[in-house]
């Protein structure tokens, strides 16, 4: 077993005997980061690799994502895994819009990121055409380690995100681009 274990360092803040003070963003970010509830939008082969990620060998639950929520209501992270056909586009968009803010999206696999090897008339060439995506995980299908790496990238994003980002006009502009009210 490798003895190099990195302990995540505490966010910057004042240290004193018996207390620790830091900015609200960091505290809220720390809390959100380690309790992401994923919505596994698993459509095909990447879904089976996600089952390996959730199973006991790779165990995504170590990262705080124990509970998979199949409804968009109690989901923070939409993991789109597998090919999204054009027939599936409106369904994916509806599920994304019904998620509660703050919400993040991972496009797992080549098909979700860019249509992958299926450049055909019936496949949506990448889900960023219909919903904003935060992290792309390459691979066809990506190994469970890659999916976990994608979740860790999302955790970094969430840790550093400011509490006011969803009200900022830059985020509103992004939403207008996707016509999401």
């Amino acid at each position: 077993m490798s003895t190099k274990i990195t302990i995540t360092e505490a966010p910057p803040g004042e240290e004193g005997p018996g207390f620790f003070a830091t900015s609200l963003d960091h505290v809220v970010g720390l809390a959100r980061k380690n309790s992401i509830w994923p919505l596994p939008f698993a459509t095909s082969c990447c879904g089976i690799e996600f089952m390996s990620t959730m199973a006991s060998h790779y165990d995504l639950a170590r990262f705080g994502s124990e509970r998979m929520s199949f409804t968009p209501r109690q989901a923070d992270l939409l993991m789109v895994m597998g090919t999204i056909a054009k027939k599936m586009g409106p369904v994916l968009r509806q599920v994304y819009e019904q998620m509660a803010e703050p919400r993040w999206v991972i496009a797992v696999g080549a098909c979700a990121s860019s249509g992958g090897i299926f450049d055909t008339y019936s496949v949506l060439q990448g889900i960023d055409r219909i919903i904003p995506v935060d992290v792309y995980v390459p691979g066809c299908p990506p190994r469970p380690e890659q999916i976990i790496d994608g979740v860790m990238r999302i955790q970094d994003l969430i840790g550093k995100e400011s509490v006011r980002r969803r009200n900022s006009d830059e985020y509103k502009h992004l939403m207008e681009q996707y016509m999401i009210k």
Binding site: L24, T71, V91, Q94, E97, Q98, E101, R166, N167
Partner: protein, 129 residues
Amino acid sequence: MNSSSIPYDYLPIIIQFLVALGFVVLVLVGTHLLGPKASGKRHDASFECGLDSIGNARNPFSVKYFMTAILFVLFDVEVIFLYPWAVNFKKLGMFGYIEIIIFLSFLMAGFYYVIRKGVLNWQQRESQE
């Protein structure tokens, strides 16, 4: 002087109560202020596995659901009545035992009526198509 009516003896309990109440209020108000809001026509629509829901959800549903629920409440409350008896059934002795037997027999009669009436099983209405 151990008159127990001086109010300050209850101070810890009041503080404890306030802390609990304060926590609840703080969390509710804090998340309401901190958390971003997303609302919109499609966001507030009911989740229908990704599709738009058709028709409204308020049309009448089979009475069997209601029957099952009410009967559950009834027999659950009956079990609650058993708790005080169960706690000191040794002290109550034979008197308590007979009382419970009478109480239970009334409810069992009701249960027998429900079973014979066939309210609980769904089988009766065979599918027509």
